[in-house]
Symmetry: C2
Subunit: 259 residues, 2 copies
């Protein structure tokens, strides 16, 4: 693969190349090994920028991980980068949670999303290209019904801290009501306990954008008197919209996008 081809590959990511971009005429030939290293570094940097852009909510809706970044996302998800990103997001959430003086009326709430927030579907996505394959609803439903999705350790620790501080925990997930029983079992087996409410998509919520569905549900919480202080989710559609929390915490997820 030449540097030139790499330029083409990344036309989807980049619309103007700085003068710093290596020009292959500037290198003596045939330094094949050096080319390969340069290319690998370029791919890594461009894909990291793509991932960054996602975490900063700069990307338009996307259906699959860009082909050029499939390997990068796989490595990230299986490496320390993902673990450390989960840790710092949850640590910041925990520090904020501790910093708030709760009222004693039991109405201070923390909202958690479930998939890729409390539970990790990494085993499923590892078998399906880490987001490079188009999402298959039926296959994913089969996986959910197994009820074996493991906890995200850093999120489980935050969850315990939040409970112990006296927050009411409300779980708000895009999973359908039909998965309620297996979701409850899965959460308990993964170590989660004592949530105040578990909200799943009812038949009325079918077809709604996640950001609308979740905003509506948060609005209902507020009508019940809850003060939503924190909200943890791996999608911006978990966190934005209306009735948003005082602080929200975006957990990393470069594998899929939910609007």
């Amino acid at each position: 693969m030449t540097i030139f081809k790499l330029f083409l590959l990344f036309s989807f990511l980049s619309f103007s190349f700085s003068e710093e971009t290596p020009n292959h005429h500037a290198f003596p030939r045939p330094l094949i090994l050096e080319y390969a290293e340069l290319e690998e570094e370029e791919v890594s940097l461009r894909c990291r920028s793509w991932r960054f852009a996602g975490e900063a909510n700069n990307l338009s809706p996307w259906k699959t991980v860009p082909k050029e970044c499939a390997e990068h996302v796989k490595e990230y998800m299986n490496g320390k980068g993902y673990v450390y990103d989960l840790e710092i997001a949850n640590k910041e959430a925990g520090e904020f949670a501790k910093s708030v003086k709760l009222k004693e009326d039991g109405l201070d709430a923390w909202v958690f999303d479930i998939d890729e927030t409390l539970l990790s579907n990494l085993p499923y996505y590892a078998a399906h290209g880490y987001g490079f394959e188009v999402f298959d609803h039926a296959k994913f439903d089969d996986w959910v019904e197994k009820g074996v999705t493991p906890a995200i350790e850093a999120s489980l620790k935050l969850y315990e801290d939040i409970l112990n501080l006296g927050y009411k925990v409300i779980l708000l997930t895009g999973r359908s009501e039909s998965h309620r029983a297996v979701t409850v079992d899965n959460l308990i087996n993964a170590g989660f306990r004592d949530w105040h409410q578990l909200i799943l998509r009812s038949s009325d919520d079918k077809g709604k954008l996640a950001v609308i569905y979740k905003s509506e549900k948060r609005s209902e919480m507020e009508k019940e008197g809850f003060r939503i202080l924190g909200n943890s989710g791996d999608q911006w559609s978990d966190l934005l919209g209306s009735s948003v929390s005082v602080r929200s915490f975006k957990l990393p997820n470069p594998m899929y996008f939910i609007a």
Copy 2:
């Protein structure tokens, strides 16, 4: 520096270490070189996570770049990572801008912040530790008054595209009214032109949080009839609050935080 010391250093970043964290007892000794490499990789990963967390709006307000990440931030700001992150954010903004069918009443607006959004104060920060030194208002004012802040190339390209598409450009900056003349000259010399309005902090706005000041100004734009379709800024306080834009674009900035 031992791995153990590294752990201590990063206690501010990490509250739970996964089992993947290298245990120095697991390595044969005295592989000093390998230790050094491992440490460097750890620092790099932890600091990248810190930077990611900032871009995802997960961090509490901070005053300086963490000591351990000073070198990481310097390398990032001077390397391709920063350039590529600027490029992808501006590219996504441009694609969104093009995708909107504008009304022909001249009321479709795009809001731009100035510092670290259109103009780059990197020369100033390079001389002041890339955010590792505590911000010095007087020194920064002196720098601003020189009027030599260069354009961010990818943002200048977006700016031109936005103008050519027919948007009204409104510049909304935290700079004070006292810097108006030099800011206008600086912008023009850097290649920016034809903005509809340049809003700076008046004496009435002194002491307001940026997120409040900017929300108020956007609210005034809406009262004048403008539809704020896009908003580009390097701080979340440029983008959040009320009267927010349809889509906003967070440009990277690991050097400072404005609430």
